[in-house]
Amino acid sequence: MASSSDTHNLASNQHRYLQVADLRRLRHLFFSSKRVVEGQYAGRHASPQRGHSVEFSDYRQYTPGDELNSIDWKVYARSDKHVVKLFEHQSDMTVHLLIDASASMAYRGVDGDRKRDSKFDHACRMAASIAFLTIKQQDKVGLAIAKQGLDAVLPAQGSFTQLNKVLRQMEQTRPTGEADLAETLDGLARRVSRKGVVVVFSDLLEPVDAVLQKLSAFTHRGSEVIVFHVMHADELRLPDTLAEATFEDSETGGRVRLNTDDVRVHYQARMERFLDTWRSAFRSRGIDYNLASTATPYHAVLEDYLFTRSRVI
């Protein structure tokens, strides 16, 4: 468990995406994987590795080479069969945070007020919270930034120093260009060999098939993938304060001139289809999907998700 002095040090560093109020709010939360994970050290999470722990897992037929003291003699006495008793290995968990830092994530609203959080800020606050929870549980957390491919990677480690590194990396990142999420996932998959939890924060303005294909590398390996679909409120229903405007694409630079009132209904229908496409695609592959609107405070999104997740587990 993290000591209180570590938490104090973290708080005294005044990170933008993780502040004292957040630490208090997250104190009672717990982040764990729904699936078994592979780890190097004994921990609180179920692991596919069999070991010598107290949690009974299964029996199997004795094969030559097995240690004799692993044979369950009581079973032999009852059934005259040599079986080996297997125990579940409790391992530590590795969480990989992947944050989309494309230009589209920099959107703060029509007026571009810098006092307001951008989509990237919203994603970073959620990611920082998860990183804190993970470190607090003595698990490991790593960070990957998706910006024109895999832009920055922090290998997973389980210390508050790592958390500081993660937070600093987030603060240093400026969302620009395209994300190329598929390429990023591909790169990350090559660097991560063990089962773990991959948490993706993105607005998913990407080709669906390519992203799903790359994510399958993680799911096939047994990793759990969680997606936070970060959208700005303006994207979901178009800004009310705007009648007619020229909209410029943040990534491609393309322009379109229209009246939001005229197209709002049609736009919202298309947006709903867009969200449904991702939602159904992820769910069909066992990937948790969460729509994280900037209109909803990030901690509320996170709390909802973690409470729901705890019920499922």
Binding site: V110, D234, N259
Partner: protein
């Protein structure tokens, strides 16, 4: 600058073509359009992928709406600029050219009859009519056009002798025009306008500004159909009154019973009240005697119905008394009062007219005067005045209730006319067959119950006639007892007239024994005529010496006397004649006529005759009420002047009907309202600026509506 240099395109005239430079203002909406395009907000959005897909859902109209708005704004600017350019549309460019060259002559006929005092929507109609007249004059151009105004009342005259270019003076006349309690003589007014325009060149117009009261216009239209007094080619424009006619309650037809009230007696004043409205009303009606209210009635009147109101009044002093009946005020005030001047006497007045000497015993007049006033004092029923036929005028007869003709030579036509007027007004006439009866019968015409054929001198043949068949139960003879009847039937008459067929409406009360009429009654006009086919003169019979003659004359006179007095037929706008009933006081000072306002009438009064035959005539009674003839403080005569009852009906004729009355007579006519921004005269054409401004407002309204709809 005016029309001399004005370009004409077909029938469209631009009075201010310089305003076309204002079309440069079209740049404003174009610039606004361009600025608007640039000024629109630019938003860096995460992705426009879905926006582009949604843009296809915008309708074609939405895509073009910016251009549509630009077009609407440009059209609005064009409409305003064109309005400032003063467009005039005329279907008669040639006429407009005549106006430009020679100017126009416009006569405004401004209705000032009593009905224009009505209030419509809280505003006096006369005020509205004046405003319409001024509006017409405003369309004239000073120095070019000529105008005149005829205020139409009972005696319409032009404000100026000839057409004038002094439009300010004409305006002043219109501003000063006021309603009068008179009828409007439209035919005469139109004739005045015709004479004013007869020698005018250029465009000639008559503008009728009237409440179009049917009672005034219908007779005029009938006459117009026969002969239009306007010169050919004069254009008549009718400006109809704005607002509908309102309801009205009128008073009229005041009568007093008895005809000649006496001191200490009572009378009944009856007044006709009529509701001209389409809804029932309740009105209070008050009787005033000499300005003092003596009685009041609340009258319930059904829609468009009339009722009679009766007041009982006592007369306690002799002399003239002024009876005034007043109704509660309504939309038309002039007809809310009715007037009746009454002379209360000690006795009933009888005038005996005979050319034979009244003091010569044996003459018909001698016997008759004494039969009517045997004692010659106030104990007699009648106060008898003797006149010769030369002195007997209509005015002298006015105070009498009965006139008795004893022996009159060939009567003059004025005298015959005076008698006919007296009987028509309700007076009684008793006529004996003496004098030049054949001539007189011809003069009197309708007053005779039968034609007179020839005089029969029976005495010469030693024969005589006696009364035969008699209607003793008739009211004229019912006072005779059987003894009296026997006495009468013993009288012998040596002379009578052979009579022709008796008229159907006449009743022979007494016949001679040969069957010829002796006493015949004929109702004529409002009065009674009793013709006696005999004479009391000794040269004709001894009847004058009989006491039965006294009884018969008194009985016939009582029957002939009218039962009620009707308010005189003098209405405002007409002449009023006043004559003293009693002798003038030689030392009483000069005569004067005092009007209804209590002020002495100075102008328009003429005095004729002398002594008791003095006649004062007010040429034109400008107000309704009582006109009084005074000698010093002594009141000699009172005459009531009312408002023509036809002014009370507020029914209107349509302006089209009035116009149609002129069109048949060579005039051009049309109806134009002063309500709204249109021209009345359209001398130079129909101004279109109002329409263009309205179009501009409409276009801007459409633009605002579209913007609101699109932003909803």
């Amino acid at each position: 600058m005016h029309f001399a240099t004005v370009p004409q395109l077909a029938a469209l005239i631009w009075t201010a073509p310089l305003a076309f430079f204002g079309l440069a203002l079209l740049a404003l909406p174009v610039i606004a359009h361009l600025l608007n395009r640039r000024a629109k907000q630019r938003v860096v959005f995460p992705t426009i992928m879905m926006l582009q897909a949604s843009k296809a859902s915008q309708s074609q109209l939405f895509r073009l709406r910016r251009w549509l708005l630009l077009m609407l704004r440009c059209l609005a600017v064009v409409a305003v600029v064109l309005a400032f350019a003063g467009p005039l549309w005329t279907q008669r460019p040639a006429a407009a050219a005549v106006v430009q060259a020679e100017g126009a002559s416009v006569v405004v006929l401004l209705d000032a009859s009593a009905s224009t005092t009505q209030r419509v929507g809280g505003v006096g109609l006369m005020q509205t009519l004046r405003a319409s007249g001024l509006r017409v004059l405003d369309e004239l151009e000073a120095g070019r056009d000529r105008a005149n105004v005829v205020v139409v009342d009972a005696q319409p005259t032009a404000a100026f002798e000839a057409m004038t270019t002094n439009l300010a003076a004409v305006r002043q006349q219109v501003e000063q025009a006021a309603s009068v309690p008179e009828r409007a003589d439209w035919l005469r007014a139109i004739a005045v306008a015709g004479s004013l325009l007869a020698d005018q060149g250029g465009d000639r117009r008559v503008v009728i500004v009237s409440d179009l009261q049917a009672a005034n216009w219908r007779p005029a239209l009938v006459e117009l159909a026969r002969a239009n007094p306007l010169p050919e080619g004069v254009e008549v424009t009718v400006v109809p009154p704005s607002g509908g006619a309102t309801g009205n309650v009128s008073l009229g037809g005041v009568t007093l019973q008895p005809y000649t009230p006496v001191v200490g007696g009572r009378g009944q004043v009856r007044v006709a009240v009529r509701n001209h409205a389409t809804t029932p009303v309740v009105r209070g009606v008050t009787l005033e005697v000499d300005g003092r209210a003596v009685d009041r009635r609340d009258v319930e009147l059904a829609a468009e119905r009339g009722a009679g109101v009766v007041f009982d009044v006592g007369f306690d002093r002799p002399g003239w008394q002024e009876l005034r009946v007043v109704a509660e005020g309504d939309a038309l005030s002039y007809d809310d009062a009715a007037y009746l001047g009454v002379r209360v006497g000690q006795q009933r007045e009888v005038v005996v007219i005979g050319d034979d000497p009244p003091d010569e015993p044996g003459s018909a007049t001698y016997f008759t005067v004494r039969a009517l006033a045997p004692r010659g004092d106030l104990r007699d029923r009648y106060s008898v005045t003797h006149l010769t036929s030369a002195d007997a005028t209509e005015v002298r007869l006015r105070s009498a209730s009965v006139v008795v003709l004893t022996s009159v030579g060939a009567m003059s036509e004025p005298f015959a006319g005076a008698l006919q007027g007296f009987v028509a007004g309700g007076g009684g006439l008793v006529m004996f067959s003496d004098g030049d009866l054949s001539t007189n019968a011809a003069r009197l015409g309708g007053l005779m119950p039968y034609p007179v054929v020839a005089q029969r001198d029976l005495a010469r043949r030693g024969a005589a006639l006696q009364f035969g068949q008699t209607l003793w139960r008739h009211p004229a003879l019912s006072a005779f007892s059987l003894d009296d009847q026997e006495v009468l039937q013993r009288v012998r008459f040596g002379m009578s007239w052979e009579a022709g067929p008796v008229r159907d409406e006449a009743t022979v009360l007494m016949r001679f024994d040969d069957g010829t009429p002796a006493v015949t009654h004929l109702p004529a006009g409002g009065g009674n005529v009793l013709v006696c086919n005999f004479s009391p003169a000794l040269s004709r019979s001894d009847f004058g010496k009989f006491g039965g003659y006294v009884a018969l004359v008194q009985s016939l006179t009582r029957f002939a006397a009218p039962t009620q007095r009707v308010a005189g037929g003098v209405v405002a706008g007409g002449s009023v004649v006043l004559s003293p009933v009693e002798p003038l006081d030689p030392a009483g000072g000069s005569l004067s006529v005092v009007g209804p306002d209590g002020q002495r009438v100075v102008g328009g009064v003429t005095y004729a005759g002398s002594g008791r035959a003095t006649v004062a005539e007010v040429g034109r009674a400008s107000s309704a009420g009582f006109y009084r003839l005074r000698q010093g403080d002594r009141l000699l005569a009172v005459r009531a002047v009312g408002v023509d009852g036809q002014e009370s009906g507020l029914e209107r004729v349509s302006p089209e009907e009035v116009v149609a009355g002129f069109v048949g007579g060579g005039s051009v006519g049309r109806v134009r309202s002063t309500v709204g921004g249109g021209s009345v005269l359209e001398l130079d054409g129909e101004p279109l600026w109002g329409w263009l401004v309205a179009a501009a407002m409409g276009l801007l309204g459409v633009e605002l509506g579209l913007l609101t709809w699109w932003r909803r």
